[in-house]
């Protein structure tokens, strides 16, 4: 496609230092960028947070830090898998019970499930305005994100040889690594199904399959690319960045397709479930410059607040063109799994 442009060799890992989320920064001015925690009032009173696991250790560290900074806050945290907590919240709601003030989830589809039940309170405009477009949702605040990427081995293939359209990989002669049983991959195929339709997705799966090697997980895909077992892979961006952190000379670089499921950005986020002032205050803490920088530097997550540096090794967000997909629809995995089974991919 002519309009597509691939972020190729210029994005080679290590060549780019920390970059800025440029979109919106200049246009909106200081009022809409990240606040420092020093500017926030102390939180107090009782607050119950349902915390969906995923980046478990990291989120625990954030909870501990917020607790330490707010000794008068009686913070109760209930942990569990995001989908399971979402179901619990819906059950509690149907039973007329309100226990949680906040739902903080690694998984946007779980947030969508809760929002669809009418359980969420709208976010204050002052909070939404700080979040990067197009992630300014009414019923939940995006906290951090991850992007689908194409890790490739520069010793086996040059950036110029890579398609900038995810659908074109099916017609290429590249040796591809993928992890069909992995949840992130299935969400990616779901996005493709929503964007391109079932028939084109079926053709894509059938087209890629003959020159694809399956791995148990997406870190395995990145390692296979690095070893040269395959030319390219499909994986979330952070595996490659983490590997490069420990092995700066690793033979793997990142490329991104343009405006398709291949560069889908998915987000973790938090939804307000009550009008407890401490709940809004807690969300403000998650969106501070300090927390956003912590997520970007420690987990290589994409910071969702304007003006916070991107993880080293990623291009600025205004140079990535993710597709517009209603993230909460990514939970609809059943037709995706059926398609993957039908084509023998699973």
């Amino acid at each position: 496609m002519d309009r597509r442009t691939l972020l190729k060799s210029a994005l080679a890992l290590g060549l780019l230092g920390p970059t800025r989320l440029l979109a919106g920064d200049a246009a909106t001015g200081d009022a809409a960028t990240a606040r420092s925690v020093e500017e926030l009032p102390a939180l107090q009173g009782k607050l119950t947070v349902y915390l969906g696991r995923g980046e478990g250790g990291l989120y625990d560290t954030l909870v501990t830090a917020i607790r330490k900074r707010n000794p008068k806050l009686d913070l109760q945290v209930r942990r569990g898998p995001s989908a399971s907590l979402a179901n619990t919240l819906v059950a509690e709601h149907q039973a007329g019970v309100q226990r949680a003030d906040l739902f903080w989830s690694i998984d946007s589809s779980s947030l969508g499930l809760v929002a669809d039940q009418g359980m969420t309170h709208p976010l204050p405009e002052t909070i939404r305005a700080r979040i990067r477009d197009p992630f300014q949702y009414r019923h939940w605040a995006a906290v951090s994100g991850r992007i689908r990427s194409v890790p490739y081995n520069p010793r086996r293939v040059s950036a110029d040889q890579l398609p900038d359209d995810i659908m074109a990989f099916a017609d290429s002669d590249l040796k591809i690594g993928w992890a069909p049983a992995y949840g992130a991959f299935q969400s990616f195929v779901t996005a493709m199904r929503l964007l391109e339709g079932e028939q084109r997705t079926r053709q894509w799966l059938l087209g890629v399959k003959p020159h694809a090697t399956s791995y148990a997980g997406e870190f395995g895909v990145v390692m296979a690319v690095e070893r040269g077992e395959v030319d390219v892979g499909f994986a979330n961006h952070y595996y490659t960045l983490r590997l490069k952190q420990g092995m700066p000379d690793a033979s793997v670089q990142l490329a991104f397709t343009d405006d398709d499921a291949g560069c889908l950005v998915n987000a973790s986020g938090v939804a307000l479930l009550s009008d407890n002032p401490a709940a809004v205050g807690f969300v403000r803490y998650l969106l501070t410059r300090e927390v956003q920088e912590y997520l970007a530097t420690q987990a290589f997550e994409l910071p969702m607040v304007r003006g916070v540096a991107m993880p080293a090794g990623l291009p600025p967000m205004n140079r990535i063109d993710p597709p517009e997909v209603e993230l909460t629809r990514l939970a609809d995995l059943r037709p995706t799994l059926a398609l993957m089974r039908e084509t023998g991919v699973l």
Partner: protein
Amino acid sequence: MSRVDRFPRKTLFAAKTLFAAKTLPAAMLTLGLAAGTAQASGDLDTYAAEVEAMTATLDTLVTEHADQEGVDDDIARLKQQWSDAEYHEALEEHAQVVYPLIWQAYGGLERALEQDASHREVVAAADQVRSALWQGLGGLRVAYAEPAESGAAVQGDAATVTAIQAALDKALGEYYEGELEEANELIHAAYMEHFEGLEGKLIALDPELVEGLEEDFNATLPKRMEQGNDGQVSKLVGTMKARLDKARDLLAGQEKQEVF
């Protein structure tokens, strides 16, 4: 005086928070019993008995209405039961959203009787009361189940590794019992809910270790369990636990980055 005010009650509750759900899924009625405290379970038994008594009164009322007998005594008994019930107080405190639904249902029944509605309409109104009462009980069961984790119980990396190893042992036990599905669920949960929280730090320290464990959790161990070779399964679990020991040692040497 509004219709609902004609029933005795301890507190008037604003009905503005009424929500749409009118019926409770059957599963909800059993939710939370196992997880509640002993005290809460005892209370729930009391509440269930009180709800049973009120629904029995409703049954009598419906039967007598069908026989065209007077039902004033039944209504009076129902009022008294509702007024005296510990269940009533518990609802006010713990299930405030569902509480007004019961008032609303009572109002509907009283209105039907006052307006000499057909027997079918009276039955429907009584069913609404019955449904709301059970819904309230389900709400209390949910409210008493699994209290939120409190305080500073944050798991460190070493404890997380230990929890993963314990889950592997438990999965092995399930496998020996022939419970393959349970074993796979434990393995999957250990990976998704615990190991993924550590792998970010570990990748930079020892990528091959992470790659090996990712494959063990997601492919090799489930496959070996399916093949049913006990010796190979237990050997692999031992290998994984040794790899996790190594992970614990690697993580122990890591400097902690402060957030604020």
